[in-house]
Assembly symmetry: C2
Homo-oligomer: 228 residues x 2
DNA sequence: GTTTGTATTTTGAATACTCAAAATGAAAAT
DNA sequence: ATTTTCATTTTGAGTATTCAAAATACAAAC
């Protein structure tokens, strides 16, 4: 059985995996995991020995199929738990992440299946992140960050890629939630800001770092089983 | 912060504490925790150093007030989670114990408070075990084992003191659940068995080991906030 | 009072995870 | 080609938890 530490490493390697065949450098992994570089090296060797990752010294890590399978399993638990906490227990979406970070290692498959059923086998978590299926399939929709859109674009928010509690509260208070319709009214390249209008609300200025955290998709495309 | 291992030790020391001022011998603790005796010794020294227990070598352990407080906290989490799983997720009472054994270490106080509210601040878990209050008070009702009752007694089942899945399924299938009214029709000292009638059901024979696991209380005495 | 038997403790070692700091590798700058 | 710089790895050590097996203490039996 994988310890919760191993599960956390595997999950983060999977999530921050550069698309394609790229290896993740261990320095990056160390930063992500909040450990010193030497710790990451040691851990990655362990993962490698247990067949969850492949490790090229001085180059980086990549998950094996077994590692990806585990990562998807943990991710599924994390996201289903988040949605459960929001829907059933009424926890605010800005607070579910740290809870799920712990519970994802403690919940049994049996219980997870019950939660999945209770929620109607949802496809997205409260932040718009896709929930891997029980079989381990992850829907990879081609969404783009809000800052990458042209002025005048009319989009729909697909997901918020930041688990920080303050940012999530801010986003929510301005209607910036998955599913919301959004009009990019203007962009100011020099001022590093964009002007958006969410649903019928007051126009809102966002800096590029905020705009980068909001992933949007074409307006028309309706997503099934939208969450939150 | 106490590790989940420490929480488990403390909880079990509390639960199997001989009433009064008795110390728990470390051999007993080792058996309860499924570790070799030497491990129990080591662990108890650690608990002692962190102020959670007092340890008399060769005699045994006793929790300090700090240890009791922690034990009650863990017990509260465990029992509230069990009831939550039964009531909200529809998990069978015979399966909640192992789940709660893990989740009790992963849930936050905030989440626990939400669950407590959602359940209406219940006083008993699915097995009839009292749930310590948030302040750490544990209602100690004077219940007695079914085998200790006289023939002819009419009682009410207060709790089932066995978390074994098979026994719980058996008990449930015969109506032996907390709150059920029960008539001890006959006892056979030599045959080591008792004859009981639960509610209006067919009389049922129980051996003494089964009868010892069923705690009963006077029929009249209604318990508030009965669970399951 | 000595022997025997059992409970408990000690010792030595293992696994899992982590850090500090020294050593090393390799790319970048000169 | 050498030096500088920075990322990565290695080494040594510490905490937490556990076991196997030897040592010890104590009570029970003789
Ligand atoms: Mn986690
Ligand atoms: Mn999420
Ligand atoms: Mn536990
Ligand atoms: Mn219980």
């Amino acid at each position: 059985m994988a310890t919760s530490t191993v599960e956390n490493y595997i999950k983060r390697i999977f999530m921050d995996q550069p698309t394609g065949t790229g290896l993740m450098p261990l320095g990056r992994l160390a930063k992500i995991m909040n450990v010193v570089p030497g710790t990451a090296t040691t851990m990655v060797k362990t993962l490698s020995e247990s067949g969850l990752a492949r490790y090229r010294p001085r180059e980086g890590v990549r998950l094996t199929p077994a590692g990806e399978k585990l990562a998807l399993h943990v991710l599924r638990r994390h996201r289903l738990i988040e949605l459960f906490l929001v829907r059933v227990l009424g926890v605010d979406w800005s607070e579910v992440h740290p809870e799920a970070e712990e519970l994802e290692h403690a919940i049994s498959d049996k219980l997870l299946a019950r939660i999945d059923e209770l929620l109607g086998k949802p496809a997205f978590d409260p932040h718009g992140d896709p929930i891997p299926s029980a079989a381990g399939k992850l829907s990879r929709s081609r969404v783009q960050p809000l800052i990458a859109c042209n002025a005048g674009a009319r989009m729909r928010i697909a997901r918020i890629t930041d688990q920080d509690s303050r940012f999530l509260r801010y986003a929510n208070s301005h209607g910036l939630v998955p599913g919301a319709k959004l009009h990019l009214k203007d962009r100011d390249a020099q001022g590093d800001s964009i002007l958006v209008q969410v649903n019928g609300r007051k126009p809102l200025n966002l800096g590029s770092s905020a705009g980068a955290k909001i992933m949007v998709e074409p307006h028309a495309k309706a997503r099934t089983k939208r969450a939150t």
